[in-house]
Subunit: 230 residues, 4 copies
């Protein structure tokens, strides 16, 4: 995939995010990295979705410096590029303030795995970061947001756990491509909504049996996966 194609994919992924109802105003951004993993294409900052074009997408290097594009990149760019530097298997990143996932981030609770919908996408509870310290907030805030995510993933693989909740902020979802990270952001919001309801019905709702978690994850993502088309 060349850079022109990547611009098109990232633009389409940003518009898909809107189509799935995950965006209010201009909150939300999707990026993708090229095959050489040295250039990232990302949504411009604070631009309306109604006339977004591939040409408006901004190309930055892995330090977040603009390489191509007239517009400022998303203010969350330093978080995105840091994730690409540290997470080798990740080819796309989506950040949203989607209602239910953000609600868990605000309550500072990880998202428990209550069912197979969750297990189809996330191999276990979706982790919550620690809050940033005052110093981390006042200097290089967005890069440090990436740092607390990476810190939380010390023993977690972002490929089998393609989402995280940043405490007091909201979700980031990952994927092997920009489009795939949007799919995971959509799945995250759906399972967060159902987890909110599950907890409302029953504070002590049981977590999904670990063998069902394993089964559902494997049938979709494992070596012998048989979900979807070949």
């Amino acid at each position: 995939m060349n850079l022109t194609e990547l611009r098109e994919e990232v633009c389409r992924a940003n518009l898909d995010l809107v189509g799935h109802g995950l965006v209010t105003l201009t909150w939300g951004n999707v990026s993708g990295i090229n095959d050489d993993r040295d250039l990232v294409v990302i949504k411009p900052s604070g631009v309306g979705y109604d006339r977004m074009t591939p040409e408006q997408m901004v190309v930055v290097d892995l330090d977040g410096k603009v390489v191509e594009g007239e517009l400022r990149p998303s203010s969350d760019t330093p978080t995105h590029v840091l994730l690409y530097r540290r997470f080798e298997g990740v080819g796309g990143v989506t950040h949203t303030h989607s209602r239910c996932a953000t609600t868990f981030a605000q309550a500072r609770m990880e998202l428990p795995c209550f069912g197979t919908t969750h297990a189809d996408h996330f191999f276990g509870p979706v982790p919550l970061t620690r809050p940033l310290s005052q110093r981390e907030t006042e200097t290089a805030y967005e890069a440090n947001t990436g740092e607390v995510i990476v810190e939380r993933f010390a023993e977690i693989d972002p490929v089998s756990m393609p989402a995280v909740l940043v405490a007091g902020h909201g979700p980031f979802a990952f994927g092997h491509s920009a489009g795939d990270s949007v799919v995971n952001a959509v799945a995250l919001e759906a399972v967060a909504e159902m987890a909110l309801g599950t907890i409302a019905l029953r504070r002590d709702a049981p977590r999904l049996e670990s063998y069902v978690l394993q089964k559902h994850y494997d049938r979709k993502h494992g070596a012998g996966a048989y979900y979807g088309q070949k």
Copy 2:
């Protein structure tokens, strides 16, 4: 109804499911059985709804073996065919991960009958299956999902109770046709949403009087039914 017509009906039923807002991403599948009850038409696995055609529907026999079609059938096919083998009166099956019905399945609670909306479609509380054992999960998982449903219906008639909640998973709805099973899936989600609210308002909300349950069910489905057109 010949097989071509059944493909059309099943395709339309799958699209209706989307129209009723019960589908996120590609989660959800509808099937229907032919009059001879030896061939089942079902949605292909993991295919987008935006360009779904009757030709893409997959025809399988009652062992789930593909008889016609280029695509893989839904990964839930073994559940569907088992239900057709065991439930004589059932001509259509719909599986969704619709938000509120799945929430009850995750909380591992049956869906109580709180009102006449429920009684118009389901003759009593919508049952919850037991969880699958580790062995049932690791081997023939989808067929065993059907087995726990059938086990739960030992003393329940799937015609007067056209839905079930699979513990930790989500709902299956039945009907005399593919389209009718979609109607029941839509009704199930609506009454699940209202039951969530009813319980939130009042943990001890009274169940619907049994004579009202009987009356509403009968006026729509009984011998002297007078709801709808002749």
Copy 3:
């Protein structure tokens, strides 16, 4: 307004109900009465909204007997005609199973007046009927549904309180015309949704001050009303 015009208004009112998102499947019906108060136009039973025409509307007399129309009238017709017989000021009736209003009916709670949105439409808490007895349910169920509403309004004026919750069933809304009863059904659902949230936030949320209730109701419906255009 002649009968042709009334058919058109009732048809449009039924479609507006759908446009406002208050209808699932075919649940919901609107009727209107003519100026002579001897003929009622009502939606046919169980007919889809996608191709509804004024010609399909059914004309019945005040006993619910079909006077004009090829289709069966709504199965709730006996409730509608009884309300017209007993409530002089009512020119239109809307019945729905809208989610939040029905939730209160299922929890068997009246809908408290928590704010001015409520006060703009309903002069006090929206009343709840008693449940029907077994005998009232088994014989003339729909007419008796009307009777328990009328019984509940012994000391309430349906003009200043144009809605009621039937226990274990759902809401009926009234108005001076079919269209006006739809407006009240929409307002009822909105205030029911906000009341659900208000109670979730605070079980002991205070009722709106009675002088604010009076003020809001009067500025919209009183002698010196100054809301809207002359």
Copy 4:
């Protein structure tokens, strides 16, 4: 911006409010003030949004007296003009009965700052007014609604806190223009919805760290703001 342009902006802002899903029936109104701060353009009272035109917007002076326009201005006009008289930095005002913000107003709770979505728009908890007294309600009700807002803002800057909840009533949002006040009304509803969920998950959910509140507010609104395009 001349008065014709202001009419267009205010009309568009009212329609945007509908587009963002914040309006039920005709509940909601947006106004804007001219550069000389002596004329206010506001939505007419109780008029449908489906055929709203700039010509229908009403021009009033700072006493609320109609200067131009055939229609009655919004019944909330006295509140709007009082806010313009007292809040120098405010160029646009939006009033809605949006579901979640109104829910907090009805529960008579200020809206706590639980996350960065909130901090991006509102510098601290969104304040709640006191209820109006009986005398304030019976005479000059709408102007007094403005008075209790101004009273509540004695030590709050409406530029950094562009919203308020009127007890038992609903939200007003402010902005440097009509369009900007709509953006703040949309943000308010989103954060209110997430706050409802946050409290449901955890009654004791922690408030956002004050240094994160400061950071988010500053990066969007401070001297060194770097959100959006230059």
